[in-house]
Symmetry: C2
């Protein structure tokens, strides 16, 4: 395992500068996705890929009206019009999302085939739209917060008719980890303290709102609330702790 | 939703006494699986089913040597030989595990087709052996503890080469929830407080050991430790709180 990762790491070194790779290769997957995209844009020519990666954060036929309405709302905040009628970046930014961390970060399919070619990001491991996790993250760097719109598919069942507590924890880890990486660079989840207030009906759309509580040295504290889309019902409340890591530690398995 | 569940509930009432249904229909899925099986054995004739449900807790071709070794170890503790050479129940018991809560609990496929026929238990939603969660739970009622052998498949990736924190949380919720239900009847997860100590390599087999901390009124406190199979490495440490619930609350969505 450590040997394989060492091999990949050498691959990275051939593809770009070490510092840019360290930015891409967060130990926390969701946020690295956003970094990866900028990597693709700036370092590797996408047309060199054998296939274009699918961005799972874009709408598909399974998204219900509530999911679409909220997506369009936050998407509209990603671009604002000046008084002169010009368009410019807004306070929010949508994070693209892919199902494989290494494949597209390192220049195509060949390198990823060398190891674990079948590995997929847990939250994006289904091809069937709407079956499991449908979600999109929007971040607001200035206000150090993010919001995730999440539609829970039929394969996430726990209690009959409701979403599994582990599937909710998975989305919370994804959202808080993305924000932590955005604010602190590469991090590892150190603690998740989740209070489950009310169950989430299977098939429903909910909001995950997350913000920075504080930063202390290597520690980044993030909180996260899962509510119904109108905010009237609280499903969970969470505090999360992330530790900044040197990516080479993860690659070497230490 | 509440109407659909009401309809199912009437279906249950036709199939058995209300008290036995309440035992089956835990709001926490994994442990209810064990109850469900006894329900199938005692109330419904399995031969009346159009197809026999697959027990996911039995070995398949994807199980590695470590998974098999531990399975056989705990399985051997489920039956002991007396001095007279007779076999009798041992201190441990394997919990069967299915991918659908309602289908087999209520007399076959017809009732479950009425609602959410596509819904599947989150931890058993893949047909491909070895791709995601491979696990088996053994419980020791006398000592109020349980152990789960878990082999993490390639579709559970978080950081490159490691298991997603949400997938680990999912297994912890499953194991602690099963023990809580076994000890306290129908429960809901109220809190999971997970400390992540070291990441779990994708493809590896780990142990989840869980025991009762205390019971106070409606509250059941359970702790859980995830370690390497030789116990030398601690991956996570968790305390969990479960609240006893009246199943009709869940059915009515209140």
């Amino acid at each position: 395992m450590a040997r394989s990762l060492g091999r990949i790491f050498k691959g990275f070194q051939r593809l770009g500068s070490r510092s840019s790779i360290q930015t891409q290769l967060s130990s926390h997957p969701p946020a690295s996705v956003s970094f990866r995209t900028s990597f693709v844009r700036t370092v590797v020519n996408p047309s060199a890929f054998s296939s274009k990666p699918r961005d799972f954060s874009l709408p598909n036929s399974s998204w219900g009206p509530e999911m679409m309405r909220l997506y369009e709302h936050y998407n509209s905040l990603c671009e604002v019009e000046t008084e002169g009628g010009e368009k410019q970046e807004g306070p929010w930014r949508r994070l693209p999302s892919y199902n494989r961390l290494l494949k597209y970060a390192t220049g195509g399919v060949h390198l990823s085939k060398m190891i674990q070619s079948k590995a997929r990001l847990f939250t994006r491991n289904m091809r069937d739209p709407g079956a499991a996790f449908e979600y999109v993250l929007f971040v607001n760097s200035e206000e150090q917060k993010c919001v995730c719109i999440f539609q829970a598919g039929h394969l996430l069942e726990g209690p009959p008719g409701y979403v599994h507590g582990g599937a909710i924890a998975t989305m919370i880890d994804t959202v808080t980890g993305s924000l932590a990486t955005l604010l602190s660079g590469p991090v590892m989840t150190a603690n998740l303290n989740i209070n489950y207030r009310s169950p989430i009906p299977l098939g429903s759309t909910v909001l995950l709102e997350s913000c920075l509580d504080k930063k202390e040295g290597r520690k980044t504290y993030i909180s996260c609330k899962v509510t119904s889309t109108d905010g009237s019902r609280v499903h969970t409340e969470t505090t999360a702790l992330f530790l900044s890591v040197n990516v080479s530690h993860l690659l070497l398995g230490v």
